[in-house]
Subunit: 221 residues, 2 copies
Amino acid sequence: MAKAVVLMSGGLDSCVTAACAKRDGYELMALHISYHQRTENREETAFHRICDYYEVQERFVGSIDHLARIGGSCLTDPNIAVEEADLNRTEMPNSYVPFRNAHLLSVAVSWAEVEGADRIYIGAVAEDSSGYPDCRPEYYAAFNEVIRLGTHQGHIRIETPIIHLRKRDIVRLGIELGVPIHLTWSCYQNEEVACGRCDSCALRLRGFAEAGMSDPIPYVR
Amino acid sequence: MAKAVVLMSGGLDSCVTAACAKRDGYELMALHISYHQRTENREETAFHRICDYYEVQERFVGSIDHLARIGGSCLTDPNIAVEEADLNRTEMPNSYVPFRNAHLLSVAVSWAEVEGADRIYIGAVAEDSSGYPDCRPEYYAAFNEVIRLGTHQGHIRIETPIIHLRKRDIVRLGIELGVPIHLTWSCYQNEEVACGRCDSCALRLRGFAEAGMSDPIPYVR
């Protein structure tokens, strides 16, 4: 059975992405990277619960402390407050972690290369997102070229199965694929009850509302 | 004065590359990444000595432990012996660390983005090298595209000033630029006296021999 490394933060998008990798016939290798973001403990708990649900044997939990030391984001610098959501914002939100996804993909590629996986799944979303540059399709096309040129065999490819979906359609796909949505965690701010006010909560709540569903996780309001 | 992040292992190539960045008019931001490679302490010592020589104020020393946990290389897995050099080898040497340079470049880009540097210098060498895929010019062209698409401003660029040089010409350029060659460390195997037998020593020694110079660092033989 071919293997795929799935980047799993513990959030909704990456959980639906893991379900897509299973649907596509891959054995999952689950990769979780903490980078001293505010909610790292809660996200790691969600990661393991989701892995247990899918009976994933191969799990890798890594930690990148230099992203926090470099800072520049409200997620990693405790002196920068998490902004309230403004889904019509045009400038980059302060939750942008500079060049973060390249760090995550690099770990995924190294692990895939050594363990013989030939796909990497990541739950990047371009529409209905916070507008991070490293969540767009052209970024992944360029990164695939780096993988082709920068690995020994050159055959590993990134898959972004939900990149063109709106949040409501991610919710619907998750339900269709039997995703354990109640085990996921998306909030940028809190670790016990989701704040409902950060960008990530706002996007998630709007997605559930537009899908005509209610979100099973607890919110402050 | 424009700033450049320079990836500095402590070896000859990256030291000459730092001198190129100075020659090009940049203020140096020195970046050193350990990844639990065999000679990490000796390399970090060399890094600081070179930074002292160039009076570099901004230094960042990072550590990536997952590269060692993922393994697959004699540099990071103590159960894989360092091969004796065979400079006519055609297969990939076991010192290849899967996708390593993407990890290093990712840290460099994140740091550059937050600190406002617009260049990243790396001492990759394509000719007279061990044949690692992530040391070729086309790899850096592709990575530049990832930076353009995956950062907020998109303006940061990687420079590879010695990528087309043969080792003898790197030695000559180093001497021309007044590089403190005696402070550098290249050996994959040892931390006190260079082994003279690994790929890295063999390439370095051949470079000095072809340049008609003697290498100022101590060797076992």
